[in-house]
């Protein structure tokens, strides 16, 4: 029988990892990720988790170590945040190019300078092109469930691409919620043992992570892109199977909330989704046709899903904790491309940078502004929320 536990987002991640039974964990602390590796150490100490726990001296080494472990056929885990993720950046490209099916948790945190331990999504979004599948979760339950699903996605032989599960720093990593724990039996039914075709093998030696000449290199990159494309259907299949077994499914790359007849939609990423849903509920009582689209995966990007979910909308706000200086927020740029043939008015709201709170009123104001603008009197494309103080 499954049972309930009262845990933080970080702890939910650790519990998900425990259920996935990794062979090797590479651990390096960074706020607000640290609780994940602390809990895993406690599980190893109590023999609840039979993993080799590696004390690495940096995030760069953490990722290199799990790469080496994985291609020997070991299931692995590591976790990081912010500066640590950026320190890994070089190795992230190595891992995706080497088609190493790693699972990593990232606690979304701002990037220095100014130095800040608080949340935004500039860390992971700046690595959107590193070849990793990127998922963003909304709450502690989804954190646990997506860690388990992540192994099934990354290790699928048609995918073999590393995956990063992103949790908003503090807002999600440190907030306690009651969540359902799947049983070991359920997870065993869902997640097969890790079997890597083409792994290093003493009786059949391999030379992996090689160089390639200009004549071959582009072929490998095309294959890598295809693997990412393959993951679209695998992500859906994995979620469906997980739902059959545990009763919880999340619905693929992007999901809608009251979007069916919505004229005005806010598109979100991560934990802010819950608050936007609350605002939508209150505006619906007033009779306003509003909704939310929650992007669950930034790579592969849910282009078709967003088009479908926004088919009745005339105005959309993209609310994100990121800015690509000199243009838009990165989520906005991607959404704008998906909607480029629709003529929908699209406005970008940059909020929550460096941990700035996004209030209910902030979200209401966005809906009010979206309602008031039209094609002739459109607002500027990029708007910072909460700059006034």
């Amino acid at each position: 029988m499954s049972y309930k536990v009262f845990v933080s987002g970080d702890e939910a991640v650790a519990l998900g990892v425990k259920l996935a039974k990794p062979n090797v964990i590479a651990a390096y602390p960074i706020t607000p990720q640290t609780i994940v590796v602390e809990r895993l150490a406690e599980m190893v100490e109590k023999r609840e988790l039979a993993a080799q726990y590696m004390y690495v001296e940096s995030e760069h080494s953490a990722l290199a170590a799990v790469m080496g472990a994985s291609v020997l056929g070991a299931r692995t885990f590591t976790a990081t945040s912010s500066q640590g993720l950026l320190y890994m950046a070089e190795v992230m490209h190595y891992a995706s190019g080497g088609r190493v099916p790693l699972v990593m948790m990232n606690a979304n945190r701002s990037v220095a300078l100014p130095w800040s331990i608080f949340g935004d999504q500039r860390d992971s979004l700046s690595l959107l092109d590193s070849g990793w599948i990127q998922a963003y979760v909304e709450d502690a339950q989804e954190s646990l469930d997506m860690i388990i699903q992540a192994y099934a996605i990354a290790e699928n032989k048609n995918v073999l691409t590393p995956i990063m599960i992103n949790l908003d720093g503090f807002v999600l990593t440190h907030t306690f919620e009651a969540i359902d724990m799947p049983t070991e039996k359920q997870v065993a039914k869902f997640l097969p043992e890790f079997e890597l075709e083409g792994k290093m093998d003493l009786s059949n030696p391999k030379n992996l992570f090689f160089s390639s000449s200009p004549s071959d290199n582009i072929l490998f990159k095309a294959q890598q892109h295809q693997a990412m494309e393959n993951s679209r259907s695998i992500i859906e299949e994995v979620d469906k199977l997980y739902e059959e077994i545990t009763g919880r499914g999340y619905g693929g790359l992007a999901t809608g909330y009251k979007t069916e007849d919505a004229e005005i939609i806010i598109i979100t990423l991560g934990s802010i989704t819950g608050l936007v849903k609350d605002v939508v509920d209150s505006l619906r009582i007033e009779g306003q046709k509003v909704g939310v689209v929650k992007i669950r995966f930034m790579r592969p990007f849910p282009e078709k899903e967003i088009l479908q979910l926004c088919k009745n909308a005339s105005k959309i706000g993209v609310l994100e904790k990121d800015i690509s200086f000199g243009y838009h927020g990165t989520v906005y740029t991607n959404v704008a491309d998906a909607l480029k043939t629709t003529g929908i008015i699209l406005i970008n709201y940059i909020a929550g940078l460096g941990g700035k709170n996004i209030s209910e009123q902030d979200i209401k104001n966005i809906f009010i502004e979206l309602k008031s603008i039209d094609a002739e009197h459109s607002a500027q494309a990029v708007n910072f929320v909460g700059v006034e103080g």
């Binding site: 062979n23 090797v24 590479a26 993993a51 080799q52 590696m54 004390y55 690495v56 001296e57 940096s58 760069h60 080494s61 953490a62 290199a64 170590a65 799990v66 790469m67 080496g68 472990a69 994985s70 291609v71 020997l72 056929g73 070991a74 692995t76 070089e90 190795v91 190595y94 290093m200 093998d201 003493l202 030696p205 391999k206 030379n207 992996l208 992570f209 090689f210 160089s211 390639s212 000449s213 071959d216």
Partner: protein
């Protein structure tokens, strides 16, 4: 003790320069370690000459790691092998002097600190040779590289070569040794020893580079021997806290003769040679003192 070298070749068909000391160090070490071996190479000469798809020339399992990550990836493999009950295997890395003493030093420090059962072999050719001879922190004083051009102002490298064996010994490593392509039996014995060490081992093998040093490709071995004879390289071991000098040189051959055989030192003056001689004497005094202390 190893009596006979494996006839099998585990590193062949590569595009190393004629007389390459580094590739000889790799080839010999793999003959000692045998087929049950996992190799990690960072960016550098050995990965550039031996690891370009589809011409992959390792007969054992091998990976290229990011430049800084040799030791971290070695650790990951060893730890995974332990978890998967793959017991009878060697995990060995071959990194150059830049990949070891500069960019890879932090990861190496971490691996030694953990005590992972890995063998880390630094083939020291005294500069970034793969990128076309630039100074590393193991380039000796006076040497010409493309980033230390010998003019009136820069006048070649002003380094005093970092002592990597001292650095790793300060970690209380299980086993560390210096070696040289100029003394192959000694090198082979040390690799064999490292193979059987239950913990981290580090071998620093002097591996001349004809291209970077400006010597003939037939002179790799002889110049490496001469470096030992004139006292600019030494053969020693450190095991469980004890230093041991393998070969005590009582009368040094001429430093000047050694240096002037290499175009990288063509420009150096008598004052430079005095500085180099002083560095040698200080260093060798220190090593002999370490050795003497341990004997007492």
């Amino acid at each position: 003790m190893l009596k006979k070298l494996d006839q099998e070749e585990y590193f062949y068909g590569h595009k190393g320069c004629g007389g390459c000391g580094g590739s000889l160090a790799v080839r010999l070490a793999l003959k000692v370690l045998g087929k049950n071996t996992f190799v990690v190479l960072p960016a550098g000469c050995m990965s550039a000459v031996g690891f370009v798809y589809p011409q992959l020339c390792f007969g054992v399992n091998a990976l290229i790691s990011p430049f800084a990550s040799t030791a971290a990836m070695l650790s990951g493999i060893r730890v995974a092998a332990k978890s998967l009950n793959i017991e009878d295997c060697n995990v060995v890395g071959f990194a150059g002097d830049g990949g070891t003493a500069d960019i890879g030093l932090q990861a190496l420090s971490g691996a030694i600190d953990r005590g992972d059962k890995i063998i880390y072999i630094c083939y020291d050719n005294e500069a970034y040779m793969n990128t076309g001879v630039q100074q590393s922190s193991l380039t000796p004083y006076g040497a010409r590289t493309t980033t230390t051009p010998p003019g009136d102002y820069i006048h070649g490298s002003i380094n005093t070569k970092k002592d990597m064996v001292e650095i790793v010994a300060a970690h209380h490593i299980k086993y560390a040794a210096t070696a040289s392509i100029g003394n192959i039996p000694d090198y082979i014995r040390k690799v064999e020893k490292a193979k059987n060490i239950n913990g981290t081992s580090y071998i620093h093998v002097a591996a001349p580079c004809p291209t970077g040093w400006g010597i003939d490709s037939s002179e790799t071995i002889s110049i490496a021997k001469e470096a030992i004879a004139c006292g600019l390289w030494y053969l020693a071991e450190y095991e469980d806290g004890v230093y041991k000098l393998n070969q005590e040189i009582h009368e040094y051959t001429s430093i000047k003769a050694y240096l002037k055989k290499q175009t990288r030192f063509k420009h150096i003056t008598d004052e430079d040679i005095e500085i180099i001689t002083k560095q040698r004497d200080q260093k060798n005094y220190y090593i002999k003192e370490q050795h003497r202390k341990n004997i007492i």
